[in-house]
């Protein structure tokens, strides 16, 4: 099994719960509109909104995790990219067959093809509309009324007809492995309404007396801008740095490459590590 390092907890949990390496990985990049009653300073719902909410906990304002089970987008959410990564097995073939020499040749050819795939992925990310939003979010000094979120799952929730009409699909040519093939494709919205015209609040300059590291603060103090019960984890970080979602997708492929690139002089006839279950 390919091991991951510095993987966000959601992705890590996802891989631990997977029944098999042949299950697809579906990664959604979601554009979430913040609720109207949103405190731009503390990034939290205003108190009266929280009181009137239903059984949802505060976290649902961030992740809409309860909506995930229903399979539909929550209000104010829009999937702008959906990535599918899957290793399809080739049935009825012994993955470990072949001589040592042919195995080594196959590995170097596979390494080359995966590297080419990685390069084209890297370029493609920057051509999709979500990249512009990501850049806007990172470069603007204003607090936007929207944010980008990742969602990782193993099921492909269908879109409405209207949404499908707005989306385009791009398939990367599958890469043959010793046990099957690695398939990658993306469904993306070809145009996203101009998010720069969305309401935003300029960040007003404020003196922060209790900044991290300030001699006035307790170093172990939690700051009220985030729910106390929710640990600050990488998923939170990802919502502000969606490029890390892409980096982790690349990491998935990169890890596979790194492991095998270091073992060109393979002595065993074991199969490529992507699918070893």
């Amino acid at each position: 099994m390919v091991q991951f390092r510095e993987c966000p907890s959601e992705l890590e949990n996802f891989y631990l719960c997977r029944q098999s390496n042949f299950e697809p990985v579906v990664i959604d990049v979601i554009l979430e509109q913040k609720p109207l009653d949103w405190d731009p300073v503390t990034f939290s719902p205003k108190p009266d909104l929280v009181e009137h909410s239903s059984s949802k906990d505060k976290n649902s304002f961030f992740w809409n995790s309860d909506q995930e089970e229903s399979g539909c987008e929550a209000k104010g959410e829009k999937v702008i990219e959906r990535w599918f990564v899957q290793h399809e097995s080739r049935k009825g073939r012994d993955c470990s067959s072949g001589s040592r020499r042919s195995s080594s040749n196959n590995l170097s050819a596979l390494y080359k093809k995966l590297l080419l795939l990685l390069r084209s992925l890297y370029v493609t990310f920057r051509l999709l509309p979500a990249y512009k939003i990501f850049r806007d979010l990172n470069s603007s000094g204003q607090i936007r009324a929207f944010k980008l979120l990742p969602r990782v799952s193993s099921s492909d929730k269908s879109f409405t007809q209207k949404d499908e009409a707005e989306m385009q699909r791009f398939w990367f040519t599958p890469v043959d492995t010793s046990c099957g093939r690695l398939c990658l494709s993306v469904l993306y919205r070809s145009s996203i309404s101009d998010t720069s015209s969305q309401s935003s609040t300029p960040m007003s300059p404020q003196f922060i007396p209790d900044y991290v590291g300030s001699p006035l603060t307790d170093p172990l103090r939690r700051f009220p801008s985030l729910p106390v019960s929710q640990p600050i984890d990488r998923l939170q970080f990802l919502s502000h740095h969606p490029q890390h979602i892409q980096n982790h997708m690349l990491w998935f492929l990169t890890q596979a490459l790194a492991v095998r690139a270091a073992t060109y002089e393979l002595t065993s006839s074991s199969s490529w590590g992507i699918s070893t279950s």
Binding site: S108, A109, Y111, K112, K113, L115, L116, L117, R119, S120, Y122, V123, T124, R126, L127, Y131, K132, R135, F170, F172, T173
Partner: protein, 217 residues
């Protein structure tokens, strides 16, 4: 080994757009063919809302810019003409030296043809002209036309970049094995030149075959 050829969709560009467009396309192709260790660098185009990737190699950037400069000089001498730039990747093979041949030869395994149609944007008449009809606001329509044209060029450039990505994905078997320590496959960029005898010979061949001069295609 097969030589795979990719003819990229023709782009209609104005003179001032040549540099950005060519940098974007050439660097994107080279990035896909620099399979050694590179430090990718994102570059935002100034004229279009496109970000492309460079290999982060100053020398490579310099070589590409030099070729683009030569091309621009050629365009200035041959205005309003369709033109083609060829980016080729090859392997160097040694062969039996003889009186008439070199010890090494280049085996081309991939060629990319970048097709440009460089146009001069028609200027609008000055409002001071005696014969100008009354125009409500010529400035505004010119701006709209310009931005509409710019959007079209951007969309076409994006299509070309996707065409590159598709080609790279669909055709992988012909790419030579990666050698350790080698970052780039050997490449050359060929631009049309009136003084280039090879280019001239090619033109003559085309004239003999087709009966009229045509550009490389």
């Amino acid at each position: 080994m097969n030589c795979e050829v990719c003819q990229l969709k023709e782009l209609e560009v104005e003179h001032f757009e040549i540099r950005e467009v060519l940098r974007c396309i050439l660097h994107t192709i080279v990035f896909h063919r620099a399979l050694g260790l590179v430090r990718p660098k994102d570059v935002d185009l100034e004229l279009f809302e496109i970000t492309y990737v460079q290999c982060g190699d100053v020398e490579l950037e310099k070589k590409i810019d030099e070729k683009i400069d030569h091309f621009i000089s050629w365009v200035e001498k041959h205005p309003n003409k369709k033109s083609q730039i060829c980016l080729s990747f090859y392997e160097v093979k040694s062969k039996q030296p003889s009186w008439f041949t070199n010890k090494t030869e280049r085996l081309y395994w991939e060629q990319w043809y970048i097709n440009l149609n460089v146009t001069q944007h028609p200027k609008h008449h000055s409002s001071k002209s005696h014969h100008t009809k009354l125009v409500v606001d010529p400035g505004e329509s010119a701006t709209e036309e310009r931005s509409s044209r710019r959007a079209m060029v951007e969309a076409s450039l994006r299509e070309v970049l996707f065409q590159i990505i598709k080609f790279v994905n669909e055709k992988k078997d012909h790419v030579p094995p990666i050698s350790e320590g080698v970052i780039y496959f050997p490449y050359e960029i060929t631009i049309p030149s009136s003084s280039d005898s090879a280019f001239g010979m090619d033109m003559i061949k085309r004239m003999l075959h087709s009966g009229h001069p045509t550009m490389l295609s």
